[in-house]
C-alpha cells in the first residue's frame, strides 16, 4: 500500500473514531450479561450432550461386559435426593407461610430424584428420536430435491410432483404411519431380514417409522426447496446455459447451490418439527423419547414431573439442532445471498 492511500484511510477513519461514544457502564453490563449467557448455554450444552453420550456408551459397551449398575440403570442412587425432598417437605409444614419456598425446594429435589431414576430410559429414547429424525430428514431431502426440481422445471411432469406433495401433505402423518404399519405387509417382509431386531439393529417398527417420516418429510421439504428455487433469478440459469452448460448442469452447479442456502432457515424449521413429530412413532411402538416417558408415567402416574423432564430433553435437542444449523448457515454464507447480514443494526447506528 502506498503512503497516499494510508493517509486517506486514516482521515476517513478519524471522524468515525471521534463520534463513536465511549462504552457506558450499561453497555459493559449488557455485554458481560451476553458473555455470561453464552457461557451458560455452552455449559448446559456440554452437560446435556455429555450425559447423553456417557449414557449411550455405557449402555452399549460397559454394561454389556458387566461393569457398573447395568444397562438402563441409573449411575447414582436417587435415594439421597428422595430423602432430602422428604425432609424438606416436612420442614416446610413447620414454617407456616414462610414454608412455601421450602416446599418448592422439596419439589425440585423430588423432580431431581425422578430425573436420576428415569434418566437412563430417556437417554435411550433420545437415541431413537435422534436417529429417527436425522435419517428421515436426510432421506427425505434426497427425495425432496428432485421432487422440487421436477415441480419447477419438469414441464408436464410437474403434475406428478404436485400430486405426490399434495397427497402426502393433505393426509395426517399418524394415518400414514398406521397405513404403513398395519395396512401393508411391511412387517412380515422386514422380519424376513434376519438382522432386523437383533443386537444393535432396531425392530421393524423403527424402519417403518423411518419410511413414514421420510415420505412425509420429503413432501414438506420439497415445498421449502421449491420456494427457494423460485427465489433464484431466472437469469442465473439462462447465463449458465449461455455458457454451454446443459439445463441439468445449470441447475446442479448454479441454481441448487443458491437454492439450498436460501432453504436453510426453512429446513431448520423442518428439523425442529421432525424432532417433535417423531414422537408419533411411539404410536407404532417405536421406543423413542415420548414413548418411554409415557410408558413410565402411565405406571407411576407422575405425569406432570415426567413430562416436565421430557420437555427439557426435547428442548435440549431442539436448541442443539437450531444452533448447529445456525453454524451451517454462517459457514456457507455468501455475501449478498440471503441471511440476516446487515439487517440487525441498531436503529441509531
Amino acid at each position: 500500500m502506498t503512503e497516499g492511500t494510508d493517509v486517506t484511510t486514516a482521515t476517513e477513519r478519524d471522524p468515525v473514531a471521534g463520534t463513536e461514544p465511549r462504552p457506558t457502564a450499561r453497555d459493559r453490563l449488557r455485554s458481560s450479561f451476553d458473555r455470561a449467557g453464552h457461557l451458560l448455554a455452552v455449559l448446559a450444552g456440554l452437560v446435556f450432550w455429555g450425559w447423553l453420550l456417557t449414557r449411550w456408551l455405557y449402555d452399549w459397551v460397559l454394561a454389556r461386559v458387566g461393569i457398573g449398575p447395568g444397562a438402563g440403570e441409573a449411575f447414582l442412587s436417587p435415594a439421597p435426593l428422595e430423602a432430602l425432598a422428604a425432609s424438606l417437605s416436612s420442614a416446610a409444614g413447620s414454617f407456616g407461610p414462610l414454608g412455601v419456598p421450602v416446599g418448592w425446594l422439596a419439589s425440585a429435589a423430588d423432580a431431581a430424584a425422578l430425573g436420576v431414576d428415569i434418566g437412563p430410559a430417556l437417554a435411550t429414547g433420545a437415541w431413537y428420536t435422534i436417529v429417527l429424525t436425522l435419517s428421515s430428514l436426510t432421506l427425505g431431502f434426497c427425495i425432496a430435491v428432485p421432487l422440487a426440481i421436477l415441480r419447477v422445471y419438469g414441464g408436464p411432469m410437474r403434475w406428478l410432483a404436485l400430486a405426490y406433495t399434495e397427497l402426502i401433505r393433505g393426509t395426517p402423518l399418524l394415518a400414514q404411519l398406521f397405513v404403513l404399519y398395519y395396512g401393508l405387509p411391511l412387517s412380515a417382509w422386514l422380519n424376513d431380514f434376519s438382522v432386523v431386531g437383533r443386537g444393535f439393529v432396531p425392530g421393524y417398527a423403527f424402519w417403518i417409522a423411518i419410511l413414514g417420516f421420510t415420505i412425509n418429510g420429503s413432501a414438506y421439504q420439497a415445498e421449502y426447496i421449491r420456494g427457494a428455487l423460485e427465489t433464484v433469478d431466472e437469469g442465473q440459469l439462462t447465463a449458465a446455459r449461455a455458457l454451454g452448460l446443459s439445463k441439468f448442469e445449470g441447475i446442479r452447479h448454479v441454481v441448487l447451490p443458491q437454492t439450498l442456502r436460501y432453504a436453510i432457515p426453512a429446513w431448520t424449521n423442518e428439523l425442529v418439527y421432525l424432532i417433535k413429530y417423531s414422537s408419533l412413532a411411539g404410536f407404532i411402538t417405536v421406543p423413542e423419547l415420548y414413548y418411554r416417558a409415557n410408558d413410565i408415567a402411565s405406571s407411576t402416574l407422575e405425569y406432570t414431573s415426567i413430562f416436565g423432564l421430557l420437555a427439557i430433553v426435547y428442548l435440549g435437542l431442539v436448541l442443539s439442532a437450531t444452533n448447529v444449523m445456525g453454524c451451517v448457515e454462517r459457514r456457507v454464507a455468501v455475501p449478498g445471498l440471503g441471511g440476516a447480514e446487515g439487517r440487525q443494526q441498531e436503529p441509531n447506528e
Partner: protein, 281 residues
C-alpha cells in the same frame, strides 16, 4: 465449424488469438469461409403466442464485424440475439455460424453456445461464486479444463478487463460496471467466435457504463465479431461496422453508421435517432 482448441491457460494476447482466426479461415477445410459471412440469418420468424416478435429477419455478419442492433423497445432486438444461440427456439428460418447450421435439429445447442458468448442486460453473474469462479465454472464443466488451467485462464481474463484484484470478490461486493466486466470476461474465457451483447450498459449508471464500453472498444480493436443491442449511440458511431434498425420485428434499414445517422432513407429511422438523441442530451 469447430474451433481448434488449445489449452489456453497461458493467457494468449489478442493478436495471437486473431492469428488463430486467420489460420482457420486460410485452412483448406474451410477455404470458402473467407468470403462467406461468419453469421448468416435467413428469414427468421418467432412468435410468442399470438404476438409475432420477429417477422422474417435476414442478416449477414462477416468475421470481425461489429453489428449494432437498434430499434424501439419491443422491436425484437433481444429476441433476435437469444435466437442466435438458441436460448430461444425459432419458429421458422435458418441461422448459420460458419458452415454449421445453428437451427438444425441435430445441432447440439450446448456446443453452439460455447462458440457464441453472451453478455446480458441483467449481468447475471452467478451470485454464489467469486468473480474467478464465475469464469472457471464454464471452463471446468463445459470445456473440461483442469482446476489449475481454468484458474490461470480466469485470472488472465480478469486481468484483460482490469479486474485482476477482484478475483476473490463475490458479485454483491462489486459495482455494476465491475460486474458487467466480469460478465464479459466470463464469456470471453470460452473463446467464442462471436460475442452477443444484449443492452450491456442499460442497467448501469452513465459513469459505470463507460468502463464497460471501454472494454467493448478494446474487443472491437482486437477484431472480435460482435452483435450488440444498445442505445449507446456513441459506441455505435465509433465502433460499428454496420447498424441495423429494427422495428416491429422487421429490419427497416441497414447500413454503415455514418449513412444511417446522417442520412437515413426511412422516415421511421430518422425519427428514432431524433428521439434517442433527445433522450440522451
Amino acid at each position: 465449424m469447430t474451433v481448434p482448441r488449445t489449452n489456453d491457460g497461458d493467457g494468449r494476447t489478442a493478436d495471437e488469438q486473431r492469428g488463430d482466426g486467420d489460420e482457420r479461415t486460410a485452412s483448406p477445410s474451410s477455404a470458402t469461409a473467407a468470403t462467406d459471412p461468419l453469421l448468416r440469418i435467413e428469414n427468421l420468424h418467432k412468435s410468442y403466442g399470438a404476438e409475432e416478435v420477429l417477422r422474417g429477419v435476414s442478416l449477414e455478419i462477416d468475421r470481425g464485424d461489429v453489428e449494432v442492433l437498434v430499434g424501439p423497445s419491443g422491436s425484437g432486438k433481444s429476441t433476435l440475439l437469444q435466437c442466435l444461440n438458441r436460448l430461444t427456439e425459432i419458429d421458422s428460418g435458418h441461422i448459420y455460424l460458419g458452415d454449421t447450421e445453428v437451427t438444425a435439429s441435430e445441432t447440439d445447442p450446448n456446443e453452439i453456445r460455447q462458440q457464441i458468448g453472451m453478455v446480458f442486460q441483467d449481468i447475471n453473474l452467478f451470485a454464489h461464486l467469486t468473480a474467478r469462479k464465475n469464469i472457471t465454472l464454464g471452463l471446468r464443466k463445459v470445456r473440461g479444463m483442469s482446476a489449475e488451467a481454468a484458474r490461470e485462464r480466469a485470472d488472465s481474463e480478469l486481468d484483460r478487463v482490469g479486474l485482476a484484484d477482484q478475483a476473490d470478490s463475490y458479485p454483491a461486493q462489486l459495482s455494476g460496471g465491475q460486474k458487467q466486466r466480469v460478465g464479459i470476461a466470463r464469456a470471453l474465457a470460452m473463446d467464442p467466435e462471436v460475442m452477443l451483447f444484449d443492452e450491456p450498459t442499460s442497467a448501469l449508471d452513465p459513469e459505470l457504463s463507460n468502463e464497460v464500453l471501454a472494454v467493448m472498444d478494446e474487443l472491437v480493436d482486437e477484431g472480435m465479431t460482435m452483435v450488440v443491442v444498445t442505445h449507446e449511440m456513441r459506441f455505435a458511431r465509433g465502433a460499428a461496422s454496420g447498424i441495423t434498425f429494427l422495428a416491429d420485428g422487421q429490419i427497416v434499414e441497414r447500413g454503415p453508421p455514418d449513412r444511417l445517422f446522417e442520412n437515413p432513407s426511412h422516415e421511421r429511422t430518422a425519427q428514432f435517432f431524433e428521439n434517442i438523441s433527445h433522450d440522451h442530451d
